[in-house]
């Protein structure tokens, strides 16, 4: 190691001497407790997602008998069903086949209530509800790994999602942020592709794409506007 680098290393290591380090605000028990709580919540969310899928499949099963009668509109209904908001699915699954098809069409046509602000609790930064909507618009990122997970407190109900994505061989970060009403987004970073749009709940959604390599076109950079346009009426 060159002498000057050694000196820099010594300076960095001396920058935070033991006597200046405040007591830690967490211990081993806190970590284990939080870890178990997060794991339990993830499992519950997965179980809930499974029920939602079953409900959507239920719509398809209820609609298919109608299509056997030759009704052209019934053929379109199962395809539209996955687009329907999960909350509408149980209602649609109740009636006779013809009624279910009608409900499914209405559910597909009527916009879902906007997602709006989150709960404000300290939680996973990655927002599963937001991710579900993003994946509707951009199915290519369905399996994308989430960026490093942290727990964050969001007193304003902000929502956030950050995914490591690869598009046409270019790796980078795709970030979606929902800001509640009254919160303004900051200025964009250089070397990013970003679009901001007002949402149905009065908040703001920003979609940002950044390449891992400086100078490279950000992955999905051409689709951030399309994604923001899809998200705006749903948030």
């Amino acid at each position: 190691m060159p002498m000057d680098e050694k000196r820099l290393t010594e300076a960095f290591r001396a920058a935070v001497p033991d006597e200046s380090v405040p007591p830690a605000s967490f211990d081993h028990a806190d970590v284990v407790r939080t870890s178990r709580r997060v794991t339990a919540r993830r499992r519950a969310a997965l179980a809930g997602g499974g029920l939602a899928v079953l409900a959507v499949v239920g719509i398809g099963v209820a609609v298919l008998p109608g299509s056997a009668g030759g009704g052209g509109s019934s053929v379109a209904a199962p395809a539209a069903a996955p687009q329907a908001p999960p909350a509408a699915a149980p209602q649609s699954a109740d009636g006779a086949p013809g009624v279910a098809a009608e409900d499914a069409r209405e559910a597909a046509a009527a916009p879902a209530p906007p997602l709006g602000p989150g709960t404000g609790e300290c939680a996973d930064r990655q927002d599963p509800a937001l991710r579900a909507i993003v994946e509707q618009a951009l199915p290519e990122v369905a399996g994308a790994p989430e960026a490093a997970v942290t727990l964050e407190c969001r007193p304003g109900g902000e929502r956030g999602l950050a995914l490591h994505v690869v598009d046409a061989g270019v790796a980078g970060l795709l970030t979606v942020d929902y800001l509640p009403p009254g919160t303004a987004p900051g200025s964009p970073d250089p070397d990013t592709e970003r679009t901001t749009a007002p949402t149905a709940s009065g908040g703001t959604v920003t979609v940002t794409a950044r390449s891992d390599e400086p100078g490279a076109l950000p992955p999905y950079g051409q689709r951030v506007e399309e994604l923001a346009g899809f998200l705006a009426p749903r948030l």
Partner: protein, 180 residues
């Protein structure tokens, strides 16, 4: 003879014991790194705790125990850098601190404070490179692996980061600047 349930319980206990030992050994070092990355002890503790929580959740899947430090660095650095891009917690890009005068050789405390203050004025990704290289002691390739970028990027970010430090520290950096 022990049954599968008993064996699972013992494996769980052993894993928890291993994690507890790692936590005890590394907590303060991780907090310190987080502090230099973000410049605030409250956020540093948030990031450090979150990184340990993530580690605990993945503990059984990380088979190479020699890779734990690298895993933690990667998690911590990416979390801090990504957070800095978030509009609701974007770091204030206000006026940088006044350039420091050359420190008295005996004034070690002032020098330390000046360095910590100056780091806050360095853009997050460049700051991460400096912390990885000069606090964690990683070489260019090691820092590139943590940040998921090329060695060329690390070199340029190091140069830019040191230039930003110099803009704040002024002559005080002269004794610290690396060659080349």
């Amino acid at each position: 003879m022990t049954g599968p349930d008993e064996r699972d319980r013992r494996v769980d206990e052993a894993a928890e014991h291993e994690f507890a030992e790692y936590f005890r050994a590394r907590r303060d070092a991780v907090r310190r790194t987080a502090f230099l990355l973000c410049g605030d002890w409250h956020r540093a503790d948030d990031h450090a705790q979150s990184a340990f929580v993530a580690l605990h959740r993945h503990w059984r899947r990380i088979h190479d125990r020699n890779a734990l430090d690298a895993w933690m660095r990667r998690t911590l650095v990416r979390a801090v850098v990504d957070e800095s891009r978030r509009p609701w917690r974007r770091e204030r890009a206000g006026e940088p601190p006044e350039p420091a005068s050359a420190p008295d050789a005996t004034d070690a405390v002032a020098t330390r404070h000046a360095l910590v203050d100056a780091l806050r004025a360095v853009p997050p990704r460049q700051r991460a490179v400096l912390v990885l290289r000069f606090l964690e002691g990683l070489d260019v390739a090691g820092a590139a692996a943590v940040l998921g970028c090329s060695t060329g990027t690390v070199k340029s970010q190091t140069a830019h980061g040191l230039a930003a430090l110099r803009a704040v520290l002024g002559d005080a950096l002269d004794d610290l600047r690396p060659a080349g």
